[in-house]
Symmetry: C2
Subunit: 233 residues, 2 copies
DNA sequence: TTACCTTTGTGCTACAAAACATGGTTTTTT
DNA sequence: AAAAAACCATGTTTTGTAGCACAAAGGTAA
């Protein structure tokens, strides 16, 4: 756990959504309860069953939120990109974590005690509305995902995951290489399939010239076609 | 649309969670923006794509929230029991509905304009926290559900649905007959399977003496065994 | 270099679940 | 009361996907 002093300007830049609605006094309070922490690649951030204490904001890196299901199979529930908040749901719901989180790659994040957050929410209606809005959006996404993962076929699910990764983490300078390099296993866990099937289906997409694979590097070539495959399931 | 005048005492009894945190002035405001509406069995309450306007609270009856997916298949996302709120997520997320809602059986519900709700939230931190907590719980349930529906096998999913229906809507005086009489199709849509498979698996459970079926009436006989089947998937 | 481990890739098999077909009920409509 | 429609039940066929087993490639360490 690395504790680092940041100036208020730096903090404001890291967490604009949280910072902006606050009064000067509230900002001061927040700044004094702000710690920075780093995680190594593949390091676990929190586990299922633990008691949540902090709101986390990813400053740099990429994070997966996942759930271990029956028979050792793991399902990636959502992924976090920088400046996104996470790890707060369970605290609000007065539960322990029902998911786990791990770093896809080296990460820096800031931790703010949930007691501080709830204190701020109680005195700042704007901030309360921010969390209500955010939770509502996430709930919609989760419901959508339930149907996609259960009803679509393998090709549809994988195509969707690839498009989702592009939307979430973007592409490199060439405008088509996904900025995130996932293992086949993670790709499978994101798409609700076995590793073999992720590999197989990825190869099929490649031979159909929808994508180009080069190790973990994936270029999306025919996005329209992928979108169509994702849509029809 | 039936508009009915209710006394404040009646309203308070209908929506305690919403009513309790309010000041007297806020209660007055809410009472003036409170309408009651009835729906017939199987009637649609709202559709995917519509713009949300009201928070709804189910006063009596049973409601399903569902989503139409690929190939005409429908997935029941969650079910509502009396005194529960629903239909508010999309408004908070600033989206149109991504789900639809329909009445399992004749329903009475009250409608409160979302503008009234957000107004109250802004001036009442307790109420804001109520919605944050509620949304957080629903998000956890949704994530859990995603994994259950994708990873468990048919028997596990059906067993889980039966137990879920008991928890949600309870049982009749004999302590084992589910209080809700669903069609096989609805049961299938709740458990992510085809109607044929719901029928078949239900028959299997019956011949294994885990349940007794009599038309749409379902008695849970061996709940422990069902729980085990649900758990191992 | 060698050896070792992890990740990736491929072929084969087994099985679960969907799709289809058919017939019997019950409920609703006229 | 007859007809129509919806719903329930069960058997058969087909298909998609998981589950191996095994080989190749790439990375890491001695």
């Amino acid at each position: 756990m690395v504790k680092k002093e940041l100036s208020k300007e730096e903090i404001a830049r890291c967490i604009p959504d949280l910072w902006q609605p606050l009064t000067e006094a509230q900002r001061e309070y927040l700044a004094q309860n702000f710690t920075v922490q780093k995680y190594k690649k593949n390091e676990t951030i929190y586990c299922e069953g633990e008691t949540p204490q902090y709101l986390m904001c990813l400053l740099s890196g990429k994070v997966k939120i996942y759930k271990d299901g029956v028979g050792g199979r793991s399902q990636i529930i959502r992924v976090i990109r920088d400046t996104e908040f996470f790890a707060y749901r369970a605290y609000f719901a007065e539960e322990n974590y029902v998911t786990a989180a791990a770093a896809f790659e080296p990460c820096t994040m800031c931790l703010i005690p949930m007691t501080v957050i709830t204190g701020l929410i109680r005195e700042n209606a704007e901030l309360a509305m921010y969390f209500i809005r955010q939770l509502s959006k996430d709930l919609g996404i989760s419901d959508e995902r339930t149907v996609n993962l259960t009803q679509k076929h393998i090709r549809g699910r994988l195509a969707e995951s690839l498009l989702f990764l592009k939307e979430t983490y973007g592409v490199e300078e060439d405008q088509c290489t996904l900025s995130i390099y996932l293992s086949r296993e993670d790709l499978a866990n994101l798409s609700n399939m076995t590793t073999s099937n992720a590999i197989r289906t990825l190869s099929n997409f490649a031979s159909e010239k929808l994508i180009i694979i080069d190790g973990r590097k994936i270029k999306l070539i025919d996005e329209d076609k992928l979108r169509k495959i994702s849509k029809i399931g």
